[in-house]
Subunit: 155 residues, 2 copies
């Protein structure tokens, strides 16, 4: 029952973009450095997020990525879904696909998985990037906390 690092890295990267929201594009080099992850790998994840319409890329020098929507309009669930697919503990309770397994009428565990799915979705969809910014510990970025890194506090 783990999310992969894809989702984890994605959230961390999106958090950085949310923190810098409204200040122009942030190059991946900076994001990768701050969050200590592979720049090249991040590149792939951002490609996926861009196709999902969650971020915009700005090419060229002084380019980078920025959120396509304000932080309070992007939920953690949106990011996870883009990077890891639908939020469902088993495929047969996937809300998006609504595959509906053949034995669903007689399945004794369906209710369980539905409850689990709903509780996961509730948490993930009710937390936005803006919430993460607010929740971030004061010492989230000790290096330049003097410069007021925790800028984004919900508009």
């Amino acid at each position: 029952m783990r999310i992969s690092t894809k989702g984890g890295y994605g959230i961390r990267a999106m958090y950085e973009l949310a923190m810098a929201h409204g200040q122009g594009p942030v190059p991946l080099k900076v994001v990768a450095e701050k969050q200590a992850l592979s720049e090249h790998y991040l590149e792939q994840l951002m490609g996926t997020l861009r196709k999902a319409g969650l971020v915009k890329g700005v090419r060229g020098a002084k380019g980078g990525y920025q959120l396509a929507l304000p932080p309070e309009k992007i939920s953690v669930g949106d990011v996870i879904r883009a990077l890891e697919g639908p939020i469902a503990p088993v495929s047969c309770v996937d809300l998006d696909a609504e595959a509906g397994c053949e034995r669903h009428a007689t399945c004794p565990t369906r209710g369980l998985w539905e409850r689990l799915r709903d509780s996961m979705i509730q948490v993930l969809d009710s937390t936005t990037l803006a919430d993460l910014c607010r929740e971030a510990p004061q010492n989230a970025a000790p290096k330049d906390s003097g410069k007021g890194l925790c800028r984004y506090q919900g508009v």
Copy 2:
């Protein structure tokens, strides 16, 4: 965010054992047939569940497996934990290991993962095998429903 089939198969097998609880051991052949899964693969899963103290194996002819505890004492979470490891969306909020990553004091996403973990645990630990038996649709076993297959209704 999927559980593997290990967990899914395990739950389905445990449900069968719960249904037959108090009626002597059930051979895997029967379980595998009813739930339509590979007997040999199930064997491995049952080995894990046995080591976790959730089932008892009875060797030899007329042998099989039975629950080591009454169905209302075994939660879905117990089964999942035995087969898939600790219930935690990311390793750093693993309650059992309490690994505690080095940057946990400054991590802006820790709260999120803790909330997700707790909501998952709440659902999984509050549902027992007895609950699954109760929840099972009436037509859960059309073949011999006349014989009253849904025997186990909580003691």
